[in-house]
């Protein structure tokens, strides 16, 4: 008897009828192109929700000005709670139920890995993956429908290694690193960049994202007598690491990876730890930071603030993820323009692998988004920055961050 109620419920929930299978690529009509992606909107990584919302705001702005070839861009981003199994579920929904044209801007290394084979087997483009894991740009022969966006972590690690070897060739180096693929990738690049000077790396400590603090790791790193500290950490752990270092009175030359070096994060460290601990800190940046004073009157950042005001009034203008996601969305729009008047999935993938964009308004001046049939790293340039006077200041020219 009691099973009946359950069955009634199950039937009530399953009213979605099978949809007809169109002949052309799904998700595109004369007036609309529908793309989708996964972003954590809830759970421990909910702060990254801005990555979805910023891109959505940019598309709304483009749509308000007529769209691309009179097509409006509809961007369906779905919560995956930053759980790769949920990503699988959400992407199946987007591809099989919502019939999106492409997956775009999904966040997370494991999360994109969990659906990469599926998307390539079903020939759905997996565009501008929100992860710097090198595999997304490197393994294009096996996964032609997948392309990353961020500078690869390996490339970023090499840039730091080169800078250290240039300025302090004999300094002892300590590293604090997150215990996952992102951390391992960046550390591997850093070690490769050190080359023969690998022995300069005297101490490595890892942490799990579920830790409350890293003071124990920092104390261990300090006791190695290193004078350079590289933080391969997300923002909360960059803050905790430097707060702990400051308490121990340790003053190494700090390097912070791009993931954790937004201006608002650095200002928190400056305010809660000590301005001196990050004075002279170095990072690699490719994207404009909303809190950089030198971009106050920059046309790109004015555009950014206008879009935020019009399309996302409740969003935090100082959140760099918004700028990042607009940079990605801008790149998508430009690729879509190049994919022909009636884009297909295949033509879009070809266009994405044939970009040469010099004017992305959200990237640092001089940073070029360039891809080719053999280069699937759209963003492989950046500029080292040095922290002083409570802001990042450019250090040298635009450098290559190729893996």
């Amino acid at each position: 008897m009691r099973v009946l109620g359950v069955l009634a419920l199950a039937l009530a929930l399953s009213t979605g009828a099978a949809s007809a299978r169109p002949s052309a690529d799904p998700g595109i009509s004369a007036s609309e192109i529908v793309i989708g992606g996964t972003v954590p909107l809830s759970g421990i990584a909910a702060s990254y929700a801005s990555v979805g919302r910023g891109a959505e705001a940019y598309f709304k702005y483009v749509n308000a000005r007529g769209g691309v070839n009179r097509r409006k861009i509809t961007y369906k981003y779905v919560d995956d709670q930053y759980n790769p199994a949920q990503t699988v579920q959400a992407v199946r929904q987007l591809v099989q139920q919502d019939r999106v044209f492409a997956i775009f801007n999904s966040l997370g290394t494991e999360h994109n890995l969990s659906v990469r084979s599926f998307l390539n087997a079903t020939k759905v483009p997996q565009l501008f993956v929100g992860s710097g894991a090198t595999t997304f740009g490197r393994d294009y022969k096996r996964y032609p429908y997948t392309i990353g966006f961020l500078p690869s972590y390996i490339g970023e690690g090499k840039v730091y290694a080169r800078q250290i070897l240039k300025t302090k060739p004999n300094a002892k180096i300590a590293v604090l690193v997150q215990n996952d693929d992102y951390g391992k990738d960046l550390l591997a690049g850093f070690k490769a960049g050190l080359g023969a000077k690998r022995k300069n790396l005297v101490a490595e400590q890892s942490y799990d994202a579920l830790s409350t603090d890293v003071s124990s790791q920092i104390a261990r790193l300090r006791s190695s007598r290193a004078t350079v500290l590289l933080l391969i950490t997300t923002p909360p752990f960059a803050i905790r690491g430097l707060v702990a270092a400051n308490r121990l009175g340790w003053r190494p030359q700090v390097y912070v990876n791009q993931v954790g070096s937004a201006t608002n994060i650095m200002r928190i460290i400056s305010a809660t730890a000590n301005p001196r601990i990050i004075e002279g800190a170095i990072t690699l940046i490719s994207i404009k930071d909303p809190l950089m004073p030198r971009f106050k009157n920059d046309a790109g950042m004015k555009l950014y603030r206008t879009i935020m005001r019009q399309q996302l009034p409740r969003g935090d203008v100082n959140d760099g993820f918004h700028v990042y996601s607009m940079a990605v969305a801008y790149t998508f729009v430009e690729a879509l323009k190049k994919a022909g008047r009636s884009p297909t999935r295949a033509s879009l993938v070809r266009a994405v692998a044939n970009l040469n964009l010099r004017n992305n308004p959200f990237l640092l001046p001089g940073v070029v988004v360039k891809t080719s049939s053999t280069d699937h790293f759209p963003l492989d340039q950046g500029q080292l920055q040095r922290w002083s006077k409570n802001q990042w200041n450019p250090l040298g020219k635009i450098v290559s961050a190729k893996p």
Binding site: S42, I44, A46, S47, A49, N179, Q205, S206, D208, L210, S211, T212, D213, S215, S216, Q217, A219, R220, S223, P235, P236, I239, R240, L242, V243, A244, R247, L248, G249, N264, I265, I268, I269, A271, T272, A273, R314, G315, D316, D319
Partner: protein, 293 residues
């Protein structure tokens, strides 16, 4: 040697953080018999309330005590409106409701305060002392001091006041307490209110140790606070503090000096706790409950 001592000192400091929240868990378990999964999120929410009050320009201590008052009312309301309505159900229902509260409060904080990183003033001096190469921070001493003070206050409250006695009685044997004139249901609300106050103290003191905080401030802390409370004994305030400190120190020493466990700090600590529980099933300081058939 100084390195090892430094690990011990920083372990004690982390232990103080775990202990603060563990104390709130112990208080609510002792006075209502509920393992409250929302305790961490209640503390986090109070921390945001304090931040908001400070942001609106209130002096620190005014904001601090106002937050405690608001938290007390909030705790009482949660008990009256939510927990009370399911209190006669099976344990699973009550646990599920606290899980629902956890999810709801985390979401509400993300919604109201937009998930940005915030900073909270440190009420303790930011001095550090160098004792023979070992650095000790005044903030850590302050946190340990506050948790020990809370233990004393709780002891006095439960052992020396009529309300405290009534609280314990209401949790242990509601039916006969009611016959003795204890207003059991209000005692449970009081227990939630007090636990919310302790949680607020924990949040406000813990947030500055992290440099910054967002709505996820207490999720990892809750894990360690549970471990600390279980280790010390779920019904023992002093056990919560000792459990927290032992946990903090062991985590640091094991993680720092046994390479195999460097990435396995938390699992190693849990193994230790399981081992101790097998010897002492009610934790280091907990009392076993004698059941009547």
């Amino acid at each position: 040697m100084a390195d090892v001592l430094q690990q011990v000192v920083s372990g004690i400091a982390s232990g103080g953080v775990y202990a603060l929240l563990a104390l709130a868990l112990v208080l609510i378990y002792r006075s209502t018999g509920v393992v409250n999964f929302a305790q961490g999120e209640m503390a986090m929410f109070s921390t945001f309330v304090c931040w908001e009050l400070l942001d609106r320009g209130l002096p620190y201590w005014v904001a601090f005590f106002l937050t405690l008052a608001i938290s007390f009312v909030g705790g009482v309301l949660i008990e009256r409106l939510v927990i009370h309505t399911v209190s006669r159900s099976q344990a699973l229902t009550v646990v599920t409701v606290t899980i629902g509260l956890l999810i709801l409060l985390n979401g509400a904080a993300a919604w109201i305060w937009k998930g940005e990183q915030r900073t909270l003033e440190n009420p303790f001096p930011s001095d550090t002392f160098d004792v023979g190469g070992v650095v000790i921070a005044a903030q850590d001493l302050g946190i340990i001091g506050v948790s020990l003070a809370i233990v004393l206050v709780l002891w006095a409250f439960f052992q020396r006041t009529r309300v405290g006695l009534a609280l314990r009685a209401a949790a242990l044997n509601p039916a006969s307490s009611r016959l003795h004139g204890v207003r059991v249901s209000w005692m449970l609300a009081l227990g939630w209110g007090l636990a919310a106050v302790l949680g607020a103290v924990a949040g406000i003191l813990v947030a500055p140790t992290q440099g910054s905080f967002d709505q996820n401030l207490m999720l990892p802390v809750l894990i360690f606070a549970f471990a600390a409370a279980v280790l010390g004994g779920l019904d023992s305030p002093i056990g919560a503090v000792v459990g927290g400190v032992v946990l903090g120190v062991v985590l640091n020493l094991v993680g720092a000096y046994i390479d195999f466990f460097a990435d396995l700090r938390l699992p190693a600590a849990l193994l230790l706790i399981l081992g101790i529980l097998l010897l002492r099933p009610n934790g280091l300081f907990g009392r076993s409950v004698v059941k009547r058939v």
